[in-house]
């Protein structure tokens, strides 16, 4: 819980609520950054910092739901918890569909809020893990030579060495050599593993089937 690398971004146009909310989260040991408007938040928000966001729903100019959409449109996957003065069902459904962690109605009990934050932290950790794995896969793929990469797309398309050699206009022995190096660089032993991580890395199977 006291992971200092986890930051809570608060956006609420009501200064009283913003102050009280920052205070309670700060007391509970969270690092808090408080903003009194969506514009202020967007101007200063650093998406690379891990953490979650708590948005008030009804704010002037850009409201909480629009702010969530703006983050998404900018490619930022930040877990969002909404708090609202009015429990509006259609709005809450919309927010949850857009991937909100929770939609809490004011006045919010701190217990509820802390539970939602814990959930957000868990989600963020998972996302971090996925992002880390993706980074390592991409890293491995980037070490392949163009030829090895070509061989990879054929292997995951289920082609045999012989067929690949024919497709690429070379002999089976050379393909075998490339394939061995490629499997080693990718850190996998079986074709099944290779298919799994290639997919994660966004590599599509070759379509050179005659």
């Amino acid at each position: 819980m006291n992971d200092s690398r986890f930051v809570i971004f608060l956006v609420d146009d009501d200064p009283g609520v913003l102050k009280a909310l920052s205070r309670i989260l700060d007391t509970k040991g969270y690092e808090v950054r408080a903003f009194s408007s969506s514009a202020e938040f967007l101007a200063q928000h650093d998406p690379s910092i891990p953490g979650c966001a708590i948005f008030d729903v009804s704010m002037p100019e850009l409201d909480g739901i629009q702010l969530q959409a703006a983050l998404k449109a900018g490619g930022v996957e930040r877990p969002v918890i909404f708090i609202t003065g009015v429990g509006d069902i259609p709005v809450s459904v919309q927010a949850m569909k857009a991937g909100a962690i929770d939609f809490l109605t004011k006045p919010v009990k701190s217990q509820q809020l802390l539970a939602a934050i814990a959930l957000a932290a868990e989600k963020e950790a998972q996302a971090l893990e996925v992002r880390g794995e993706l980074a390592s896969v991409n890293d491995r793929i980037s070490k392949l030579t163009p030829r090895e990469r070509e061989v990879l797309t054929h292997v995951i398309a289920g082609r045999l060495n012989k067929q690949i050699a024919a497709d690429l206009g070379t002999v089976e022995k050379t393909i075998k050599l490339h394939r061995g190096r490629m499997m080693r660089k990718m850190g996998v032993r079986t074709v099944a593993d290779l298919v799994r991580i290639a997919q994660r890395g966004g590599i599509k199977p070759s379509r050179t089937r005659v």
């Binding site: 009501d14 009283g16 609520v17 009280a20 002037p60 003065g85 009015v86 004011k106 006045p107 701190s110």
Partner: protein
């Protein structure tokens, strides 16, 4: 015969003499060429030219032909152009036999020194103006003129008097050779001064950059401008115009040692007057024309040097005119009315005093006559009134201890038996107990003061019914100023009163229903307004609870949290009292109201609604708005209704176009609040039905809003009007009469 001959001879002699004079004048006509450095459109050029030409015309004993040429060399610095101009002028003035060349500005002097042999060989030159050193260097070459050096010391003296505390001095100049020489001169003058400045030289900055720089200077800075003919990128400028613009843009007072900045944003400086310079130069030229050798005329110092300031600029920078050096020429000072017209004012005042005396006398005379006339007129009116009223009872009150005479109908109105003797006591006892005191007081006051009675009271009839009686009375007295007697009428106004009361009750009930329905619509918003402080309170309380459970209790922090809780609680209380106000059963009470405050509290109530509906609100409240009198609850309802209508009108608009303007202003004897929306406006066919009950264009509307609003505003003596805007949407204006407030001294 002899005498006739003498006459003829005299006539002939005269004619001869005259023709000789003319011939002489034609022969001896003198020619002057005015050579200007700049174009006529440049600031100052015209003044110098006019000064010179005016002086030449006025003072020349002989006929003069004045030529002028504007070299415009600052804007056409190309040497080829200079050569072309010289050749052109040489050709143009061949055979014109110029007697004097007057040069205005240094470039013209340089030009004529260089090309004089072609254009005007051996013609004396009078220069306006050159530094003393230049004249000295040219001694013996038929040049004289007016000395005017480049000097900012006196201009700085002035600036230091006006801004004695200014720590910073900024010097502004361009990048031309002339500008840079000027900077050298100014630098020496500044460095030799007693006062130490933090001095910045802004030399040759591009024009836009310069304007930007000066607009950011600290207010308490002395800015001295020199000249600005070019920037360091080669851009050419009209110096005076550039510097005028600098002065306008600067965030600190700008001083300039040239008089043609006065009136154009420059605070002031020590400078020569352009017109005087021209005239002084012309005087020297005249001496030459009269036959004097130019080499023997010593160059003269300028005589028109003076401190000059612009009073409007002193005001702009709040500089004190009291600090000016003696003899400063202050321009654009607005004379006070007294200064300008004190003879006229004294005269008018004495005239008014005389007239007042006469008036008072005439009025006194008139008054006695009027009193007699009005007594007659009122008695006639009374008779007519009595005759015309069928349902009124006439009565006559002579004195408190005497019986009251009353017509028969009077007794029936009061529910008394026909032959009941009437006295003040009996009358009083027939009245509803609560109204008795007021009744007696009304009669006694009238008998004492002579002022007419106009009051109402209630009686309880024999069948237990309450009836309303109106009483009107007219006190009179005889010519000897004896005690007043009163003649008057009673009339039964129960039916009228009941109808009034019923209407009022209905109106109030409808208004309350409307408020409740508005509240229903607003419930979500109000819940939101309440939830905010409640949320803050809950979080704060939980934080305090958590802190209290810790080992080391931070007393200060807990104090702080509790203070916040109290503040938020007060805020919640305010929301509730607002709502309660709105729900209160209006009793048509009247109090003094600040319309601005009412508008603000209404907008506050609607804040959440604006947010929810994404409507932008522009508020423009007039300062010092007079008070109005009325029922704040009812008037707030009018505002609520009108603003909510405005919001509804914009439902079909895109959120970016949803905006409402609310503005207040005083307009004659009224104050107005206008609510402007940018919705679809009012359809032409609906215009006439707007205020009719049950007319609505809304899906779920009752059609009562505007009709109730209009009734409320009318009951306050005001007017509600709604009209379409030219550019779309509609404007509702509530105009209410101003309540005169007596402020206790």
């Amino acid at each position: 015969m002899r005498s006739r001959f003498v006459g003829q001879a005299a006539a002939l002699a005269f004619t001869l003499l005259f023709s000789i004079c003319v011939a002489h004048a034609q022969n001896s006509e003198k020619r002057v060429l005015l050579l200007f450095s700049y174009n006529i459109t440049f600031p100052g050029v015209m003044s110098i030219g006019q000064g010179a030409i005016g002086e030449l015309r006025d003072k020349s004993p002989k006929n003069l032909e004045v030529f002028s040429e504007f070299l415009d060399l600052a804007r056409f610095p190309d040497p080829d152009h200079e050569g072309r101009t010289a050749r052109y002028l040489a050709e143009k003035y061949t055979g014109r036999n110029l007697d004097v060349v007057i040069t205005v500005g240094r470039q013209a002097s340089q030009f004529i020194l260089k090309h004089g042999a072609e254009i005007a060989p051996r013609v004396p030159i009078v220069a306006c103006c050159m530094p003393a050193e230049t004249f000295a260097a040219l001694a013996g070459s038929r040049i004289t003129g007016v000395i005017s050096g480049r000097d900012i010391s006196k201009t700085l003296d002035l600036a230091e008097r006006l801004q004695p505390e200014a720590p910073k001095l900024v010097v502004i100049a361009g990048a031309s050779d002339f500008d840079r020489q000027w900077v050298q001169i100014a630098r020496q003058q500044i460095e030799s001064r007693g006062r130490l400045y933090d001095t910045t030289y802004l030399v040759g900055l591009p024009y836009d950059k310069l304007i930007q720089e000066v607009s950011r200077l600290p207010r308490n800075t002395i800015v001295v401008a020199l000249s600005y003919f070019a920037d360091d990128r080669g851009g050419q400028y009209i110096s005076a115009e550039a510097i005028r613009n600098v002065a306008k843009a600067a965030n600190a007072p700008v001083y300039w040692p040239y008089s043609n900045g006065i009136g154009f944003g420059i605070v002031g400086g020590y400078s020569d007057l352009d017109e005087s310079l021209g005239a002084q130069t012309a005087d020297l030229a005249l001496e030459i024309l009269a036959g004097k050798d130019a080499n023997t005329i010593a160059p003269q110092l300028s005589t028109s040097g003076a401190y000059r300031v612009d009073d409007r600029q002193l005001k702009r920078w709040q500089l004190s005119g009291a600090d000016l050096p003696a003899g400063t020429v202050v321009s654009f000072k607005e004379p006070t009315l007294w200064e300008e017209h004190h003879y006229l004012i004294s005269f008018v005042l004495s005239l008014v005093a005389l007239q007042t005396g006469i008036l008072v006398y005439v009025l006194l005379q008139n008054r006695n006559r009027r009193i007699a006339e009005s007594a007659l007129a009122e008695s006639q009116e009374r008779m007519a009134f009595a005759a015309a009223s069928t349902n009124t009872g006439l009565w006559h009150f002579q004195a408190e201890d005497e019986p009251i005479w009353a017509a028969r109908h009077c007794r029936s109105i009061l529910g008394l038996a026909e032959n009941t003797p009437l006295s003040l006591d009996i009358l009083r006892d027939s009245i509803y107990p609560d109204d008795r005191r007021a009744f007696v007081k009304a009669i006694r006051d009238a008998a004492l003061s002579g002022r007419p009675i106009d009051s109402e009271f209630r009686i309880v009839s024999s069948n237990g019914e309450t009836r309303w009686i109106a009483m009107k009375g007219y006190p009179r007295r005889d010519q000897n100023n004896g005690p007043y007697y009163i003649t008057g009428v009673f009339s039964d106004i129960t039916a009228l009163k009941t109808a009034e009361l019923e209407a009022e009750q209905q109106r109030m009930e409808t208004a309350r229903l409307m408020r409740q329905s508005v509240l229903g619509e607003l419930s979500g918003t109000i819940a939101h307004e309440l939830n905010q402080p409640l949320t803050a309170i809950l979080f704060n309380a939980e934080t305090a609870q958590y802190l209290l459970s810790q080992k080391n209790i931070d007393q200060g922090k807990i104090q702080e949290i509790i203070a916040d809780i109290i503040e938020e609680d007060t805020r919640a209380g305010k929301v509730i009292s607002h709502v309660r106000e709105l729900l209160r059963k209006g009793e048509g009470k009247s109090e003094l109201i600040d319309l601005n405050q009412l508008v603000e509290s209404t907008l506050h109530l609607l804040r959440g609604e604006f947010m929810k509906r994404k409507i932008h609100i522009d508020v423009a409240l007039a300062n010092n708005l007079p008070m109005i009198s009325g029922d704040p609850v009812q008037l707030q309802q009018v505002l609520l209704n009108l603003i909510m209508n405005a919001m509804d009108a914009m439902n079909s608009k895109a959120p970016s176009q949803r905006s409402i303007e609310v503005a207040t202003r005083a307009n004659g004897g009224q104050v107005e609040v206008a609510i402007v929306d940018f919705g679809q406006g009012i359809a032409a066919e609906h215009q006439t039905q707007l205020f009719q009950p049950f007319f609505t264009t809304k899906e779920h509307g009752l059609g009562l809003g505007l009709s109730v609003c209009s009734t409320i505003v009318k009951a306050h003596g005001g007017k509600l009007s709604i009209e379409n805007n030219v550019g779309g949407g509609a404007t509702a204006v509530v105009a209410l009469p101003i309540q005169d407030v007596l402020v206790p001294a």
